[in-house]
Symmetry: C2
């Protein structure tokens, strides 16, 4: 089974619904999930919050945290994941915020820096990745890592 099929099997077995909050992946996670027939059984929807205004207004990310820590940060990506669960009314969610490149690097955050969060009930796992591919490659690697993180978080222990 590929990653999507594995995740779908875990979601379906536990009767869980999921959602997404995507910045740097720009809809690629939702696109990968909905490319599979039958995904409407567990996928409720996603927010592509490409600008900070949408992160704040739609997902409820703190405007202060966006200024203090920047969009590519642990507090922001965790709030995006929790915001997706609330706004989409789903059981679990993944969120991504990073710099796919080729532009967008800032001091301390080179191209390929991506924060990813997975949330389920009151738990949120987040991790910073450093990918070194081109724009499309970094988007794909981020989507794959996000699917992995969500699968690990919700898999029965």
């Amino acid at each position: 089974m590929n990653k999507i099929e594995e995740l779908a099997a875990i979601l379906l077995k536990q009767h869980l619904t999921m959602g997404t909050a995507e910045s740097c992946t720009g809809g690629r996670i939702a696109n990968r999930i909905t490319s599979c027939a039958g995904s409407s059984a567990y996928f409720k929807g996603g927010i592509v919050s490409y600008c900070n205004e949408v992160k704040h207004r739609v997902l409820g990310v703190s405007a202060d945290d966006l200024i203090t820590y920047g969009a590519v940060s642990q507090p922001v990506v965790e709030q995006m994941a929790r915001g997706a669960m609330r706004v989409l009314n789903c059981d679990c969610a993944v969120a991504t915020s990073g710099i796919a490149g080729p532009g967008g690097a800032v001091p301390g955050k080179p191209v390929g820096t991506v924060w990813i969060a997975a949330a389920y009930k009151d738990k949120v796992n987040s991790q910073c990745f450093h990918f070194s591919s081109d724009r499309i490659g970094n988007i794909e690697l981020s989507a794959e890592a996000a699917l992995n993180m969500l699968g690990e978080l919700i898999a029965p222990k």
Copy 2:
């Protein structure tokens, strides 16, 4: 130039921002747009409203219209496009709602039936398409048609 580059040029020249409201395309339009470097200059974000609850709660589609006309209908896709402009605070938006297949067909709406709307200021253009590819093909054709419709709507006459 490909479709995305053409659309980007029109948006940039007129200093317009755009957003998306996707059901059957499931994030593929946002994914195609954000695959291009520089898209943050005009793309504010998107809502993947895969279930009716998200169409109603996030995009403001009338619950009565979802029941009366069904999700794959002109009133619903037009409200999705207007909802995207409002929620994402952007100048123009595209919306899709259809049956990518292989399942999901209902009487009068076979697989491949897709309603698409493009909205800009107070104008909304909508059209029903009948694609005859497989799931992935129908998603791609829908995304392509949506980008075309938005480009035609906002292009200077």
